[in-house]
């Protein structure tokens, strides 16, 4: 018996290495699977203004409210689960969550590993510098000599690397902000929606501000590859844009300017 366990463990180790490659389309309908169990499990991180907790501990935000509405349209309950962002594909494939709905930038890596909805929000990678020095770094060219901190594997890292600027990859976008605040890096590159919520007056980083826009990109929702939930969500987005409920929700969380017409 123990030998079998040991063998299983070795196999598991090997298989996990390949798990990232072996994507299998679900034989059965994902929509049916979610309806049968009666719950849509939404993988999120704490990320204002998309997904965050209100004073009584309930998940709110533009993404959270839309996810709740989508679940209601399917006739199932919504359940939010905080995940480690690095493991989002594992979480999907192991069915611990049914979708990733958390201001996820639609990069080529993301669209390859998941079935993604149509984009619903515009985003950009922006340069974060101390407010006192902001005047000198308004364009991407003027930032050439700065030492950047970027989230490893992020769209920001890709942009900075493409420009040929020197950068330090760190654990998260928040950690990149910390680098600038602590002075260990000159600048950081993060999502503009996050920047709007996290830097500037009235935030934890009042001394920082954002300047140059390095690119523009879009947010989407990710499902398991081959999932028919993607089409269901696209239909839902179109309907709620048409009846104005999506715009109303965006207004609530101050992301109207970034909303993409469905």
């Amino acid at each position: 018996m123990k030998k079998i366990i040991a063998l299983a463990l070795v196999l598991t180790l090997v298989l996990t290495l390949f798990a990232g490659c072996g994507k299998k389309a679900d034989a059965n309908s994902d929509l049916k699977y979610v309806k049968d169990k009666g719950t849509l499990v939404v993988g999120i991180t704490d990320f204002a203004p998309m997904d965050y907790k209100d004073a009584s501990g309930n998940w709110i935000g533009f993404d959270a409210d839309m996810a709740a509405a989508f679940a209601a349209s399917l006739g199932v309950k919504v359940e939010f689960v905080e995940i480690d962002w690095d493991n989002k594909v594992l979480e999907l494939d192991s069915k611990n969550i049914d979708c990733v709905w958390n201001g996820m930038t639609l990069t080529s890596e993301v669209t390859a590993a998941m079935s993604c909805s149509k984009p619903y929000c515009n985003n950009a990678q922006v340069v974060i510098v101390p407010a006192a020095k902001a005047a000198d770094y308004q364009t991407s060219e003027s930032c050439a000599d700065l030492q950047f901190a970027v989230e490893a594997g992020s769209a920001g890292e890709a942009e900075v690397t493409a420009l040929g600027y020197s950068c330090t990859p760190v654990q998260s976008q928040a950690a990149a902000l910390m680098e600038v605040a602590a002075g260990t890096s000159d600048a950081a590159v993060i999502d503009s929606l996050m920047a709007a919520a996290m830097v500037g007056e009235g935030t934890g980083y009042a001394d920082l501000t954002y300047t140059a826009k390095l690119n523009s990109e879009e947010y989407g929702v990710g499902f398991r590859t081959g999932s028919d939930l993607t089409a269901a969500l696209n239909d839902f987005f179109a309907a709620s844009y048409k009846d104005g409920s999506m715009q109303a929700c965006a207004d609530t969380y101050g992301v109207t300017a970034a909303l993409i017409a469905q």
Partner: protein, 228 residues
């Protein structure tokens, strides 16, 4: 938000996280201390296949990072079966973390037990035998306390390591105290970019491991009445 307004929010979240840390710590000890003894007996078994397989298993577990074991235990069975096996939400993550920690620590404990048992002079066993004691009596009445005395220092070392290792469970998003601390760095409950809550978690660990150190010191003192 002023610092004084942030304090109750941060402490509330850290306390919730620390409770999860304590739960994982406690259940790991409750499971791993006895399971370690079973594994130790397996690895010392005179039935060769059993001892070989057990030692192989211990080698695998001790030879791979706990972080990888957590990922495998939580994600792999569900991927293989196409069905989440650990239950939904925080409870499922806790169950998977507990399983991984119990298995991992049981293997470490088993090696400490084995070393402790094998370090007792064979004369103690033989003295019990010639006095007509059964194997069970010899283990319980003669060996056990001597073994415990010898293994208290290494076991307490391992237990204090466990306190801090519980933080690894955040890899499968178990919301223990480090997770709770980093949340305020990323932004949570209206507080963002604050690193002090994360640094503050160290204080929780420090106080808790301090209490454990005192406890183990007391146990060692209690066993000081004999030598050998």
């Amino acid at each position: 938000m002023t610092f004084l307004q942030q304090l109750p929010i941060v402490f509330g979240a850290l306390n919730v996280g620390f409770l999860q840390t304590l739960k994982l710590f406690g259940i790991t000890l409750v499971g791993a201390l006895p399971l370690g003894l079973i594994i130790a007996f397996g690895s010392m078994s005179r039935f060769r296949p059993l001892s070989i397989v057990t030692r192989f298993f211990v080698w695998i577990i001790r030879g791979t990072p706990l972080m990888i074991q957590l990922l495998i235990i939580f994600y792999f069975p569900s991927m293989a079966l196409g069905q989440p096996i650990w239950g939904s939400g925080e409870n499922g993550r806790f169950a998977a973390s507990a399983a991984a920690f119990i298995i991992n620590y049981a293997c470490y404990f088993s090696e400490i037990y084995r070393g402790g048992i094998q370090s007792i002079p064979v004369g103690q066993l033989e003295a019990g035998q010639v006095l007509g004691m059964t194997r069970g009596q010899i283990f319980v009445r003669i060996m056990l306390l001597q073994v415990i005395k010898r293994i208290v220092p290494p076991v307490s070392n391992e237990i204090i390591t466990l306190v801090k290792d519980t933080a690894l469970a955040r890899i499968i998003a178990l919301q223990e105290i480090i997770w709770a601390g980093t949340a305020f760095l990323k932004g949570s409950q209206g507080i963002s970019g604050q690193v002090w809550p994360l640094f503050f978690t160290a204080l929780y660990y420090l106080v808790f491991s301090g209490a454990l150190t005192l406890l183990f010191g007391w146990v060692e003192k209690r066993l000081d009445y004999f030598r050998g």
